[in-house]
Symmetry: C2
Subunit: 325 residues, 2 copies
Protein backbone atom coordinates (compact mmCIF):
# COMPACT_ATOMS: atom_id res chain seq x y z
CA UNK A 1 0.00 0.00 0.00
CA UNK A 2 1.64 3.22 -1.14
CA UNK A 3 0.54 5.80 1.39
CA UNK A 4 1.93 9.24 2.03
CA UNK A 5 1.62 9.29 5.81
CA UNK A 6 2.80 12.90 6.36
CA UNK A 7 0.22 14.11 3.81
CA UNK A 8 -2.53 12.16 5.58
CA UNK A 9 -1.51 13.64 8.92
CA UNK A 10 -1.59 17.13 7.44
CA UNK A 11 -5.06 16.39 6.03
CA UNK A 12 -6.34 15.76 9.57
CA UNK A 13 -6.15 19.53 10.14
CA UNK A 14 -7.98 20.34 6.92
CA UNK A 15 -11.71 20.19 7.53
CA UNK A 16 -12.55 19.25 3.95
CA UNK A 17 -10.08 16.37 3.88
CA UNK A 18 -10.32 15.26 7.49
CA UNK A 19 -12.84 12.40 7.26
CA UNK A 20 -11.14 10.82 4.29
CA UNK A 21 -7.75 11.11 5.97
CA UNK A 22 -9.16 9.53 9.12
CA UNK A 23 -10.65 6.65 7.19
CA UNK A 24 -7.32 5.99 5.49
CA UNK A 25 -5.35 6.25 8.74
CA UNK A 26 -7.69 3.73 10.37
CA UNK A 27 -7.20 1.39 7.41
CA UNK A 28 -3.47 1.66 8.05
CA UNK A 29 -4.10 0.68 11.66
CA UNK A 30 -5.91 -2.42 10.46
CA UNK A 31 -3.84 -3.40 7.44
CA UNK A 32 -0.80 -1.20 7.12
CA UNK A 33 2.81 -2.26 7.40
CA UNK A 34 4.39 -2.06 10.86
CA UNK A 35 6.58 0.80 9.61
CA UNK A 36 3.57 2.83 8.43
CA UNK A 37 1.71 2.19 11.65
CA UNK A 38 4.72 3.23 13.66
CA UNK A 39 4.99 6.45 11.71
CA UNK A 40 1.29 7.22 12.22
CA UNK A 41 1.23 6.49 15.95
CA UNK A 42 4.56 8.14 16.77
CA UNK A 43 3.51 11.29 14.88
CA UNK A 44 0.06 11.48 16.40
CA UNK A 45 0.92 10.52 19.96
CA UNK A 46 1.84 14.05 21.18
CA UNK A 47 -1.66 15.18 20.12
CA UNK A 48 -3.45 12.50 22.17
CA UNK A 49 -4.74 12.36 25.74
CA UNK A 50 -7.64 14.78 25.39
CA UNK A 51 -10.44 12.42 24.41
CA UNK A 52 -12.50 10.57 26.97
CA UNK A 53 -12.51 6.87 26.13
CA UNK A 54 -15.77 5.08 26.77
CA UNK A 55 -16.07 1.27 26.53
CA UNK A 56 -19.47 -0.30 25.84
CA UNK A 57 -19.62 -4.08 26.06
CA UNK A 58 -22.12 -6.89 26.59
CA UNK A 59 -23.22 -10.19 25.06
CA UNK A 60 -24.55 -10.38 21.47
CA UNK A 61 -28.19 -9.35 21.14
CA UNK A 62 -28.45 -6.88 24.03
CA UNK A 63 -28.67 -3.94 21.64
CA UNK A 64 -25.18 -2.52 22.00
CA UNK A 65 -25.11 -0.86 18.57
CA UNK A 66 -28.45 0.86 19.10
CA UNK A 67 -27.35 1.97 22.55
CA UNK A 68 -24.01 3.25 21.29
CA UNK A 69 -25.77 5.26 18.57
CA UNK A 70 -28.21 6.70 21.12
CA UNK A 71 -25.39 7.61 23.49
CA UNK A 72 -23.57 9.29 20.60
CA UNK A 73 -26.74 11.31 19.84
CA UNK A 74 -27.03 12.42 23.47
CA UNK A 75 -23.35 13.39 23.62
CA UNK A 76 -23.81 15.42 20.40
CA UNK A 77 -26.79 17.22 21.91
CA UNK A 78 -24.46 18.15 24.79
CA UNK A 79 -22.08 19.68 22.28
CA UNK A 80 -19.44 16.95 22.24
CA UNK A 81 -17.99 15.31 19.16
CA UNK A 82 -17.96 11.51 19.10
CA UNK A 83 -16.01 8.78 17.32
CA UNK A 84 -17.16 5.17 17.55
CA UNK A 85 -14.90 2.15 17.05
CA UNK A 86 -17.16 -0.90 16.73
CA UNK A 87 -15.24 -4.10 17.41
CA UNK A 88 -17.81 -6.83 17.24
CA UNK A 89 -16.82 -9.99 15.44
CA UNK A 90 -20.41 -11.27 15.65
CA UNK A 91 -21.89 -8.10 14.23
CA UNK A 92 -22.69 -7.47 10.59
CA UNK A 93 -20.96 -4.15 11.08
CA UNK A 94 -17.60 -5.78 11.57
CA UNK A 95 -15.13 -6.83 8.95
CA UNK A 96 -14.49 -3.26 7.85
CA UNK A 97 -17.98 -3.31 6.38
CA UNK A 98 -18.49 0.04 4.78
CA UNK A 99 -22.14 -0.78 4.26
CA UNK A 100 -22.52 -1.49 7.97
CA UNK A 101 -20.92 1.82 8.84
CA UNK A 102 -23.31 3.56 6.47
CA UNK A 103 -26.32 1.85 8.01
CA UNK A 104 -25.15 2.91 11.44
CA UNK A 105 -24.66 6.49 10.32
CA UNK A 106 -28.43 6.81 10.04
CA UNK A 107 -29.43 9.52 12.46
CA UNK A 108 -25.94 10.97 12.41
CA UNK A 109 -25.97 11.51 8.67
CA UNK A 110 -24.09 14.58 7.56
CA UNK A 111 -23.07 15.32 11.14
CA UNK A 112 -19.36 16.13 11.00
CA UNK A 113 -19.27 15.66 14.77
CA UNK A 114 -19.83 11.90 14.57
CA UNK A 115 -17.47 9.36 13.05
CA UNK A 116 -18.16 5.62 13.02
CA UNK A 117 -15.68 2.92 12.14
CA UNK A 118 -15.93 -0.82 12.45
CA UNK A 119 -12.75 -2.75 13.13
CA UNK A 120 -11.94 -6.19 11.82
CA UNK A 121 -8.37 -6.28 13.11
CA UNK A 122 -7.95 -9.73 11.66
CA UNK A 123 -5.09 -8.87 9.40
CA UNK A 124 -2.82 -7.85 12.20
CA UNK A 125 -0.29 -9.66 14.27
CA UNK A 126 -1.80 -9.34 17.70
CA UNK A 127 -5.37 -8.72 16.58
CA UNK A 128 -7.79 -6.60 18.55
CA UNK A 129 -5.56 -6.03 21.56
CA UNK A 130 -2.95 -4.60 19.25
CA UNK A 131 -5.03 -2.61 16.77
CA UNK A 132 -7.84 -1.14 18.89
CA UNK A 133 -5.71 1.04 21.20
CA UNK A 134 -3.98 2.46 18.15
CA UNK A 135 -7.30 3.24 16.44
CA UNK A 136 -8.37 5.03 19.64
CA UNK A 137 -5.14 7.02 19.52
CA UNK A 138 -5.81 8.13 15.92
CA UNK A 139 -9.34 9.30 16.81
CA UNK A 140 -8.13 11.01 19.99
CA UNK A 141 -5.47 12.85 17.97
CA UNK A 142 -8.09 13.86 15.41
CA UNK A 143 -9.75 15.85 18.18
CA UNK A 144 -12.93 13.93 19.03
CA UNK A 145 -14.15 14.73 22.54
CA UNK A 146 -15.31 11.17 23.19
CA UNK A 147 -14.07 7.93 21.62
CA UNK A 148 -16.48 5.04 22.16
CA UNK A 149 -15.10 1.51 21.87
CA UNK A 150 -17.97 -0.92 21.39
CA UNK A 151 -17.10 -4.62 21.75
CA UNK A 152 -18.99 -7.86 22.17
CA UNK A 153 -18.42 -8.83 25.78
CA UNK A 154 -17.85 -12.51 25.26
CA UNK A 155 -14.34 -13.13 24.06
CA UNK A 156 -11.30 -12.69 26.22
CA UNK A 157 -9.61 -10.09 23.99
CA UNK A 158 -12.89 -8.25 23.48
CA UNK A 159 -13.57 -7.80 27.20
CA UNK A 160 -9.97 -6.68 27.80
CA UNK A 161 -10.26 -4.05 25.09
CA UNK A 162 -13.45 -2.55 26.53
CA UNK A 163 -12.11 -2.70 30.08
CA UNK A 164 -9.18 -0.45 29.22
CA UNK A 165 -11.48 2.55 28.68
CA UNK A 166 -11.78 5.49 31.09
CA UNK A 167 -15.34 4.33 31.80
CA UNK A 168 -16.70 0.89 30.93
CA UNK A 169 -20.44 0.34 30.42
CA UNK A 170 -21.63 -3.28 30.62
CA UNK A 171 -24.95 -3.79 28.86
CA UNK A 172 -27.37 -6.62 29.54
CA UNK A 173 -30.95 -7.33 28.54
CA UNK A 174 -33.72 -9.65 29.70
CA UNK A 175 -34.46 -12.76 27.70
CA UNK A 176 -30.83 -13.54 26.90
CA UNK A 177 -30.84 -16.76 28.90
CA UNK A 178 -29.62 -16.70 32.46
CA UNK A 179 -28.67 -13.09 33.24
CA UNK A 180 -26.19 -14.19 35.84
CA UNK A 181 -24.23 -16.22 33.26
CA UNK A 182 -22.41 -13.02 32.43
CA UNK A 183 -21.07 -12.91 35.98
CA UNK A 184 -18.89 -15.92 35.27
CA UNK A 185 -17.42 -14.30 32.22
CA UNK A 186 -15.41 -11.69 34.05
CA UNK A 187 -17.53 -9.14 32.26
CA UNK A 188 -19.29 -7.79 35.36
CA UNK A 189 -15.94 -7.28 37.08
CA UNK A 190 -15.03 -4.56 34.59
CA UNK A 191 -18.31 -2.59 34.84
CA UNK A 192 -18.30 1.03 35.95
CA UNK A 193 -21.90 1.48 34.85
CA UNK A 194 -24.48 -1.28 34.29
CA UNK A 195 -27.26 -0.97 31.75
CA UNK A 196 -30.39 -3.09 31.64
CA UNK A 197 -31.51 -2.46 28.07
CA UNK A 198 -34.92 -3.51 26.71
CA UNK A 199 -36.16 -2.45 30.15
CA UNK A 200 -39.77 -2.64 28.89
CA UNK A 201 -39.45 -6.36 28.13
CA UNK A 202 -40.53 -9.14 30.50
CA UNK A 203 -37.81 -10.09 32.96
CA UNK A 204 -36.13 -6.66 33.09
CA UNK A 205 -37.01 -6.21 36.78
CA UNK A 206 -35.70 -9.67 37.63
CA UNK A 207 -32.45 -9.03 35.75
CA UNK A 208 -31.97 -5.73 37.59
CA UNK A 209 -32.59 -7.44 40.95
CA UNK A 210 -30.05 -10.12 40.07
CA UNK A 211 -27.46 -7.50 39.16
CA UNK A 212 -28.20 -5.56 42.35
CA UNK A 213 -27.93 -8.74 44.40
CA UNK A 214 -24.53 -9.47 42.90
CA UNK A 215 -23.37 -5.92 43.60
CA UNK A 216 -24.48 -6.23 47.22
CA UNK A 217 -22.77 -9.57 47.60
CA UNK A 218 -19.63 -7.87 46.35
CA UNK A 219 -19.45 -10.06 43.26
CA UNK A 220 -19.36 -7.12 40.94
CA UNK A 221 -17.67 -4.18 42.55
CA UNK A 222 -16.26 -2.73 39.37
CA UNK A 223 -12.62 -1.92 38.79
CA UNK A 224 -12.49 0.78 41.47
CA UNK A 225 -13.47 0.00 45.07
CA UNK A 226 -14.55 3.54 45.85
CA UNK A 227 -17.16 3.61 43.08
CA UNK A 228 -20.49 1.83 43.32
CA UNK A 229 -21.58 0.99 39.77
CA UNK A 230 -25.07 2.34 39.13
CA UNK A 231 -27.65 0.31 37.19
CA UNK A 232 -29.40 2.31 34.47
CA UNK A 233 -32.56 1.05 32.72
CA UNK A 234 -32.83 1.92 29.04
CA UNK A 235 -34.97 1.22 26.02
CA UNK A 236 -32.33 2.22 23.50
CA UNK A 237 -34.51 1.82 20.40
CA UNK A 238 -36.81 4.53 21.78
CA UNK A 239 -34.04 6.61 23.34
CA UNK A 240 -35.41 6.03 26.84
CA UNK A 241 -32.95 6.24 29.73
CA UNK A 242 -30.13 7.50 27.52
CA UNK A 243 -29.94 10.87 29.29
CA UNK A 244 -29.59 9.04 32.61
CA UNK A 245 -26.96 6.74 31.11
CA UNK A 246 -24.84 9.62 29.84
CA UNK A 247 -25.27 11.33 33.24
CA UNK A 248 -23.97 8.18 34.96
CA UNK A 249 -21.02 8.02 32.56
CA UNK A 250 -20.19 11.66 33.28
CA UNK A 251 -20.49 11.11 37.04
CA UNK A 252 -18.10 8.18 36.83
CA UNK A 253 -15.67 10.30 34.87
CA UNK A 254 -15.81 13.09 37.46
CA UNK A 255 -15.30 10.57 40.25
CA UNK A 256 -12.30 9.09 38.46
CA UNK A 257 -10.80 12.50 37.73
CA UNK A 258 -11.18 13.67 41.34
CA UNK A 259 -9.82 10.50 42.97
CA UNK A 260 -6.80 10.04 40.71
CA UNK A 261 -8.33 6.82 39.38
CA UNK A 262 -8.42 8.27 35.88
CA UNK A 263 -4.67 8.86 35.79
CA UNK A 264 -4.10 5.32 37.11
CA UNK A 265 -6.30 3.81 34.46
CA UNK A 266 -4.70 5.81 31.67
CA UNK A 267 -1.25 4.74 32.84
CA UNK A 268 -2.46 1.14 32.79
CA UNK A 269 -3.80 1.68 29.26
CA UNK A 270 -0.45 3.14 28.17
CA UNK A 271 1.34 0.16 29.71
CA UNK A 272 -0.98 -2.25 27.92
CA UNK A 273 -0.38 -0.39 24.63
CA UNK A 274 3.40 -0.48 24.94
CA UNK A 275 3.36 -4.18 25.83
CA UNK A 276 1.07 -5.08 22.93
CA UNK A 277 3.22 -3.13 20.46
CA UNK A 278 6.32 -4.93 21.77
CA UNK A 279 4.55 -8.30 21.48
CA UNK A 280 3.49 -7.34 17.95
CA UNK A 281 7.16 -6.75 17.12
CA UNK A 282 8.04 -10.20 18.46
CA UNK A 283 5.22 -11.75 16.41
CA UNK A 284 6.56 -10.02 13.29
CA UNK A 285 9.95 -11.56 13.90
CA UNK A 286 8.36 -14.98 14.38
CA UNK A 287 6.46 -14.49 11.12
CA UNK A 288 9.73 -13.81 9.31
CA UNK A 289 11.02 -17.16 10.62
CA UNK A 290 7.99 -19.04 9.28
CA UNK A 291 6.06 -19.53 6.09
CA UNK A 292 8.48 -21.62 4.07
CA UNK A 293 9.58 -25.24 3.96
CA UNK A 294 13.10 -24.34 4.97
CA UNK A 295 12.00 -21.72 7.51
CA UNK A 296 13.09 -22.24 11.11
CA UNK A 297 9.62 -22.05 12.64
CA UNK A 298 8.18 -24.57 10.16
CA UNK A 299 11.12 -26.88 10.78
CA UNK A 300 10.61 -26.63 14.54
CA UNK A 301 6.91 -27.42 14.12
CA UNK A 302 7.76 -30.49 12.02
CA UNK A 303 10.16 -31.74 14.69
CA UNK A 304 7.58 -31.16 17.43
CA UNK A 305 4.92 -32.97 15.42
CA UNK A 306 7.35 -35.87 14.86
CA UNK A 307 7.94 -35.95 18.66
CA UNK A 308 11.63 -35.35 18.09
CA UNK A 309 11.45 -32.11 20.08
CA UNK A 310 9.15 -30.94 22.85
CA UNK A 311 7.31 -27.62 22.32
CA UNK A 312 9.16 -25.80 25.11
CA UNK A 313 12.59 -26.64 23.73
CA UNK A 314 11.33 -25.60 20.29
CA UNK A 315 10.14 -22.29 21.77
CA UNK A 316 13.60 -21.77 23.32
CA UNK A 317 15.21 -22.22 19.90
CA UNK A 318 12.72 -19.86 18.28
CA UNK A 319 13.44 -17.17 20.88
CA UNK A 320 17.17 -17.67 20.57
CA UNK A 321 16.92 -17.22 16.80
CA UNK A 322 14.82 -14.08 17.19
CA UNK A 323 17.28 -12.56 19.63
CA UNK A 324 20.23 -13.21 17.39
CA UNK A 325 18.43 -11.01 14.90
CA UNK B 1 1.92 -24.45 44.64
CA UNK B 2 4.05 -27.35 45.87
CA UNK B 3 3.44 -30.06 43.30
CA UNK B 4 5.43 -33.19 42.70
CA UNK B 5 5.19 -33.29 38.91
CA UNK B 6 6.98 -36.64 38.39
CA UNK B 7 4.62 -38.28 40.92
CA UNK B 8 1.59 -36.83 39.10
CA UNK B 9 2.89 -38.11 35.78
CA UNK B 10 3.40 -41.58 37.28
CA UNK B 11 -0.17 -41.44 38.64
CA UNK B 12 -1.49 -41.04 35.09
CA UNK B 13 -0.65 -44.70 34.54
CA UNK B 14 -2.34 -45.83 37.74
CA UNK B 15 -6.04 -46.33 37.09
CA UNK B 16 -7.09 -45.56 40.65
CA UNK B 17 -5.13 -42.29 40.75
CA UNK B 18 -5.54 -41.23 37.13
CA UNK B 19 -8.53 -38.85 37.32
CA UNK B 20 -7.14 -37.00 40.30
CA UNK B 21 -3.73 -36.69 38.65
CA UNK B 22 -5.37 -35.39 35.47
CA UNK B 23 -7.36 -32.79 37.39
CA UNK B 24 -4.20 -31.58 39.12
CA UNK B 25 -2.19 -31.50 35.89
CA UNK B 26 -4.90 -29.41 34.23
CA UNK B 27 -4.86 -27.03 37.19
CA UNK B 28 -1.13 -26.65 36.59
CA UNK B 29 -1.87 -25.79 32.97
CA UNK B 30 -4.21 -23.04 34.16
CA UNK B 31 -2.38 -21.73 37.20
CA UNK B 32 1.01 -23.38 37.55
CA UNK B 33 4.38 -21.70 37.32
CA UNK B 34 6.01 -21.61 33.87
CA UNK B 35 8.64 -24.07 35.16
CA UNK B 36 6.03 -26.60 36.30
CA UNK B 37 4.11 -26.28 33.07
CA UNK B 38 7.28 -26.79 31.09
CA UNK B 39 8.08 -29.92 33.06
CA UNK B 40 4.57 -31.31 32.50
CA UNK B 41 4.43 -30.61 28.77
CA UNK B 42 8.00 -31.66 28.00
CA UNK B 43 7.49 -34.94 29.88
CA UNK B 44 4.13 -35.72 28.31
CA UNK B 45 4.87 -34.63 24.75
CA UNK B 46 6.39 -37.93 23.58
CA UNK B 47 3.13 -39.66 24.60
CA UNK B 48 0.92 -37.33 22.51
CA UNK B 49 -0.33 -37.42 18.93
CA UNK B 50 -2.78 -40.28 19.25
CA UNK B 51 -5.96 -38.43 20.18
CA UNK B 52 -8.29 -36.96 17.60
CA UNK B 53 -8.93 -33.31 18.44
CA UNK B 54 -12.46 -32.09 17.77
CA UNK B 55 -13.41 -28.40 18.01
CA UNK B 56 -17.03 -27.44 18.64
CA UNK B 57 -17.83 -23.75 18.41
CA UNK B 58 -20.77 -21.42 17.86
CA UNK B 59 -22.45 -18.36 19.39
CA UNK B 60 -23.82 -18.42 22.96
CA UNK B 61 -27.24 -20.02 23.23
CA UNK B 62 -27.03 -22.51 20.35
CA UNK B 63 -26.77 -25.44 22.76
CA UNK B 64 -23.08 -26.25 22.43
CA UNK B 65 -22.76 -27.88 25.87
CA UNK B 66 -25.75 -30.15 25.30
CA UNK B 67 -24.45 -31.05 21.86
CA UNK B 68 -20.94 -31.73 23.15
CA UNK B 69 -22.35 -34.01 25.85
CA UNK B 70 -24.50 -35.86 23.30
CA UNK B 71 -21.52 -36.26 20.95
CA UNK B 72 -19.47 -37.61 23.87
CA UNK B 73 -22.24 -40.13 24.60
CA UNK B 74 -22.32 -41.27 20.97
CA UNK B 75 -18.53 -41.61 20.85
CA UNK B 76 -18.66 -43.67 24.06
CA UNK B 77 -21.25 -45.97 22.53
CA UNK B 78 -18.80 -46.47 19.67
CA UNK B 79 -16.21 -47.56 22.22
CA UNK B 80 -14.08 -44.43 22.26
CA UNK B 81 -12.96 -42.57 25.37
CA UNK B 82 -13.58 -38.82 25.42
CA UNK B 83 -12.15 -35.80 27.22
CA UNK B 84 -13.89 -32.44 26.96
CA UNK B 85 -12.21 -29.09 27.48
CA UNK B 86 -14.95 -26.48 27.78
CA UNK B 87 -13.62 -22.98 27.12
CA UNK B 88 -16.64 -20.72 27.24
CA UNK B 89 -16.25 -17.46 29.06
CA UNK B 90 -19.98 -16.80 28.80
CA UNK B 91 -20.93 -20.19 30.19
CA UNK B 92 -21.68 -20.89 33.83
CA UNK B 93 -19.40 -23.89 33.40
CA UNK B 94 -16.37 -21.70 32.91
CA UNK B 95 -14.17 -20.22 35.54
CA UNK B 96 -12.94 -23.62 36.65
CA UNK B 97 -16.40 -24.18 38.08
CA UNK B 98 -16.31 -27.60 39.67
CA UNK B 99 -20.05 -27.44 40.16
CA UNK B 100 -20.51 -26.80 36.47
CA UNK B 101 -18.32 -29.77 35.62
CA UNK B 102 -20.38 -31.92 37.99
CA UNK B 103 -23.62 -30.78 36.41
CA UNK B 104 -22.22 -31.65 33.01
CA UNK B 105 -21.12 -35.05 34.15
CA UNK B 106 -24.79 -36.03 34.41
CA UNK B 107 -25.28 -38.84 31.98
CA UNK B 108 -21.57 -39.66 32.06
CA UNK B 109 -21.55 -40.22 35.79
CA UNK B 110 -19.18 -42.93 36.92
CA UNK B 111 -18.03 -43.48 33.33
CA UNK B 112 -14.24 -43.62 33.52
CA UNK B 113 -14.20 -43.14 29.75
CA UNK B 114 -15.40 -39.53 29.92
CA UNK B 115 -13.53 -36.64 31.47
CA UNK B 116 -14.86 -33.08 31.49
CA UNK B 117 -12.89 -29.99 32.40
CA UNK B 118 -13.78 -26.35 32.09
CA UNK B 119 -10.99 -23.90 31.41
CA UNK B 120 -10.80 -20.37 32.72
CA UNK B 121 -7.30 -19.64 31.45
CA UNK B 122 -7.47 -16.19 32.93
CA UNK B 123 -4.54 -16.57 35.26
CA UNK B 124 -2.10 -17.17 32.48
CA UNK B 125 0.12 -14.97 30.44
CA UNK B 126 -1.29 -15.51 26.99
CA UNK B 127 -4.72 -16.74 28.06
CA UNK B 128 -6.70 -19.23 26.04
CA UNK B 129 -4.37 -19.41 23.05
CA UNK B 130 -1.57 -20.37 25.40
CA UNK B 131 -3.32 -22.69 27.86
CA UNK B 132 -5.79 -24.62 25.71
CA UNK B 133 -3.30 -26.41 23.42
CA UNK B 134 -1.38 -27.51 26.50
CA UNK B 135 -4.52 -28.86 28.16
CA UNK B 136 -5.23 -30.79 24.96
CA UNK B 137 -1.71 -32.22 25.12
CA UNK B 138 -2.22 -33.42 28.71
CA UNK B 139 -5.48 -35.18 27.79
CA UNK B 140 -3.97 -36.65 24.63
CA UNK B 141 -1.05 -38.01 26.67
CA UNK B 142 -3.49 -39.46 29.21
CA UNK B 143 -4.75 -41.69 26.41
CA UNK B 144 -8.20 -40.35 25.54
CA UNK B 145 -9.24 -41.35 22.02
CA UNK B 146 -10.99 -38.04 21.36
CA UNK B 147 -10.34 -34.63 22.93
CA UNK B 148 -13.20 -32.19 22.36
CA UNK B 149 -12.45 -28.48 22.66
CA UNK B 150 -15.71 -26.58 23.11
CA UNK B 151 -15.48 -22.78 22.77
CA UNK B 152 -17.91 -19.92 22.33
CA UNK B 153 -17.49 -18.83 18.73
CA UNK B 154 -17.55 -15.12 19.25
CA UNK B 155 -14.21 -13.89 20.47
CA UNK B 156 -11.12 -13.83 18.34
CA UNK B 157 -9.04 -16.09 20.61
CA UNK B 158 -11.94 -18.48 21.09
CA UNK B 159 -12.50 -19.03 17.35
CA UNK B 160 -8.76 -19.52 16.80
CA UNK B 161 -8.61 -22.16 19.50
CA UNK B 162 -11.49 -24.18 18.03
CA UNK B 163 -10.15 -23.81 14.50
CA UNK B 164 -6.89 -25.53 15.38
CA UNK B 165 -8.64 -28.88 15.89
CA UNK B 166 -8.41 -31.83 13.47
CA UNK B 167 -12.11 -31.29 12.74
CA UNK B 168 -14.05 -28.13 13.59
CA UNK B 169 -17.82 -28.23 14.05
CA UNK B 170 -19.61 -24.88 13.83
CA UNK B 171 -22.99 -24.93 15.56
CA UNK B 172 -25.83 -22.57 14.86
CA UNK B 173 -29.51 -22.49 15.83
CA UNK B 174 -32.62 -20.67 14.63
CA UNK B 175 -33.90 -17.72 16.61
CA UNK B 176 -30.47 -16.39 17.46
CA UNK B 177 -30.97 -13.20 15.49
CA UNK B 178 -29.75 -13.06 11.93
CA UNK B 179 -28.17 -16.44 11.20
CA UNK B 180 -25.91 -14.95 8.59
CA UNK B 181 -24.37 -12.59 11.14
CA UNK B 182 -22.03 -15.42 12.04
CA UNK B 183 -20.67 -15.32 8.51
CA UNK B 184 -19.08 -11.98 9.19
CA UNK B 185 -17.36 -13.25 12.27
CA UNK B 186 -14.92 -15.49 10.49
CA UNK B 187 -16.57 -18.40 12.23
CA UNK B 188 -18.04 -20.02 9.13
CA UNK B 189 -14.64 -19.96 7.45
CA UNK B 190 -13.30 -22.48 9.95
CA UNK B 191 -16.18 -24.98 9.67
CA UNK B 192 -15.54 -28.55 8.55
CA UNK B 193 -19.04 -29.60 9.61
CA UNK B 194 -22.05 -27.33 10.14
CA UNK B 195 -24.76 -28.12 12.65
CA UNK B 196 -28.20 -26.57 12.73
CA UNK B 197 -29.23 -27.38 16.29
CA UNK B 198 -32.79 -26.93 17.62
CA UNK B 199 -33.81 -28.19 14.18
CA UNK B 200 -37.40 -28.61 15.41
CA UNK B 201 -37.72 -24.88 16.17
CA UNK B 202 -39.24 -22.33 13.76
CA UNK B 203 -36.68 -20.92 11.35
CA UNK B 204 -34.45 -24.02 11.23
CA UNK B 205 -35.20 -24.60 7.54
CA UNK B 206 -34.50 -20.98 6.69
CA UNK B 207 -31.21 -21.06 8.61
CA UNK B 208 -30.15 -24.23 6.78
CA UNK B 209 -31.00 -22.64 3.41
CA UNK B 210 -28.98 -19.57 4.28
CA UNK B 211 -25.99 -21.70 5.24
CA UNK B 212 -26.36 -23.73 2.05
CA UNK B 213 -26.60 -20.55 0.00
CA UNK B 214 -23.39 -19.27 1.52
CA UNK B 215 -21.65 -22.56 0.84
CA UNK B 216 -22.76 -22.45 -2.80
CA UNK B 217 -21.63 -18.86 -3.16
CA UNK B 218 -18.27 -20.00 -1.86
CA UNK B 219 -18.49 -17.80 1.20
CA UNK B 220 -17.92 -20.67 3.54
CA UNK B 221 -15.72 -23.28 1.94
CA UNK B 222 -14.11 -24.45 5.15
CA UNK B 223 -10.40 -24.65 5.74
CA UNK B 224 -9.81 -27.27 3.08
CA UNK B 225 -10.89 -26.70 -0.53
CA UNK B 226 -11.30 -30.39 -1.29
CA UNK B 227 -13.91 -30.90 1.44
CA UNK B 228 -17.50 -29.72 1.15
CA UNK B 229 -18.75 -29.07 4.70
CA UNK B 230 -21.97 -31.00 5.31
CA UNK B 231 -24.88 -29.44 7.21
CA UNK B 232 -26.29 -31.71 9.92
CA UNK B 233 -29.62 -31.01 11.64
CA UNK B 234 -29.78 -31.91 15.32
CA UNK B 235 -32.05 -31.60 18.33
CA UNK B 236 -29.30 -32.14 20.86
CA UNK B 237 -31.56 -32.12 23.95
CA UNK B 238 -33.34 -35.18 22.54
CA UNK B 239 -30.22 -36.74 21.03
CA UNK B 240 -31.64 -36.41 17.50
CA UNK B 241 -29.15 -36.19 14.64
CA UNK B 242 -26.17 -36.96 16.88
CA UNK B 243 -25.39 -40.26 15.10
CA UNK B 244 -25.32 -38.37 11.78
CA UNK B 245 -23.16 -35.66 13.32
CA UNK B 246 -20.58 -38.14 14.61
CA UNK B 247 -20.67 -39.91 11.20
CA UNK B 248 -19.93 -36.58 9.50
CA UNK B 249 -17.06 -35.91 11.93
CA UNK B 250 -15.61 -39.35 11.22
CA UNK B 251 -15.97 -38.86 7.46
CA UNK B 252 -14.11 -35.57 7.69
CA UNK B 253 -11.37 -37.24 9.69
CA UNK B 254 -11.00 -40.00 7.10
CA UNK B 255 -10.92 -37.43 4.31
CA UNK B 256 -8.22 -35.48 6.12
CA UNK B 257 -6.17 -38.57 6.89
CA UNK B 258 -6.30 -39.78 3.29
CA UNK B 259 -5.48 -36.44 1.65
CA UNK B 260 -2.62 -35.46 3.95
CA UNK B 261 -4.68 -32.55 5.25
CA UNK B 262 -4.57 -33.99 8.75
CA UNK B 263 -0.78 -33.94 8.88
CA UNK B 264 -0.81 -30.35 7.57
CA UNK B 265 -3.26 -29.25 10.18
CA UNK B 266 -1.37 -30.95 13.00
CA UNK B 267 1.84 -29.31 11.85
CA UNK B 268 0.02 -25.97 11.89
CA UNK B 269 -1.22 -26.72 15.39
CA UNK B 270 2.31 -27.59 16.53
CA UNK B 271 3.57 -24.34 15.01
CA UNK B 272 0.84 -22.37 16.76
CA UNK B 273 1.73 -24.09 20.05
CA UNK B 274 5.45 -23.35 19.78
CA UNK B 275 4.76 -19.72 18.89
CA UNK B 276 2.31 -19.23 21.77
CA UNK B 277 4.75 -20.77 24.25
CA UNK B 278 7.50 -18.47 22.97
CA UNK B 279 5.16 -15.45 23.25
CA UNK B 280 4.26 -16.59 26.76
CA UNK B 281 7.96 -16.53 27.63
CA UNK B 282 8.25 -12.98 26.30
CA UNK B 283 5.18 -11.95 28.33
CA UNK B 284 6.77 -13.44 31.46
CA UNK B 285 9.84 -11.32 30.90
CA UNK B 286 7.68 -8.22 30.38
CA UNK B 287 5.85 -9.04 33.61
CA UNK B 288 9.16 -9.15 35.48
CA UNK B 289 9.88 -5.63 34.19
CA UNK B 290 6.56 -4.31 35.49
CA UNK B 291 4.56 -4.21 38.67
CA UNK B 292 6.52 -1.70 40.73
CA UNK B 293 6.97 2.07 40.85
CA UNK B 294 10.62 1.79 39.86
CA UNK B 295 10.00 -0.97 37.30
CA UNK B 296 11.03 -0.27 33.72
CA UNK B 297 7.65 -1.05 32.15
CA UNK B 298 5.78 1.18 34.60
CA UNK B 299 8.27 3.95 34.03
CA UNK B 300 7.86 3.65 30.25
CA UNK B 301 4.06 3.77 30.64
CA UNK B 302 4.36 6.94 32.73
CA UNK B 303 6.55 8.58 30.10
CA UNK B 304 4.11 7.57 27.34
CA UNK B 305 1.16 8.90 29.31
CA UNK B 306 3.05 12.18 29.91
CA UNK B 307 3.66 12.36 26.11
CA UNK B 308 7.41 12.40 26.71
CA UNK B 309 7.81 9.18 24.72
CA UNK B 310 5.76 7.62 21.93
CA UNK B 311 4.53 4.05 22.44
CA UNK B 312 6.70 2.58 19.66
CA UNK B 313 9.91 4.00 21.08
CA UNK B 314 8.81 2.76 24.52
CA UNK B 315 8.24 -0.72 23.02
CA UNK B 316 11.75 -0.61 21.51
CA UNK B 317 13.22 0.10 24.94
CA UNK B 318 11.18 -2.66 26.53
CA UNK B 319 12.38 -5.18 23.93
CA UNK B 320 15.99 -4.04 24.29
CA UNK B 321 15.77 -4.54 28.06
CA UNK B 322 14.24 -7.99 27.63
CA UNK B 323 16.95 -9.08 25.23
CA UNK B 324 19.73 -7.94 27.53
CA UNK B 325 18.29 -10.40 29.98
Amino acid sequence: MAVDVPALLADLDDEARRRRALARLLTLVEDGSPEQLREVVASLHPRTGNARVLGITGPPGVGKSTMTNAVAGELRSRGRTVAIVAVDPSSPFSGGALLGDRVRMQGHHADEGVFIRSMAARGHLGGLSFATPQAVMVLDAAGFDVVVVETVGVGQSEVEVAASADTTVVASAPGMGDGVQAAKAGILEVADVFVVNKADAPGAGKLESELRGMLELGHATGQDDAWWPPIVRTVAVRGEGITELVDAIDQHHEHMASTGGLADRRRRRALHGVREIALGRVRERFARLGGGDDALLDDLARQVEARGLDPYTAADRLLAAVEQG
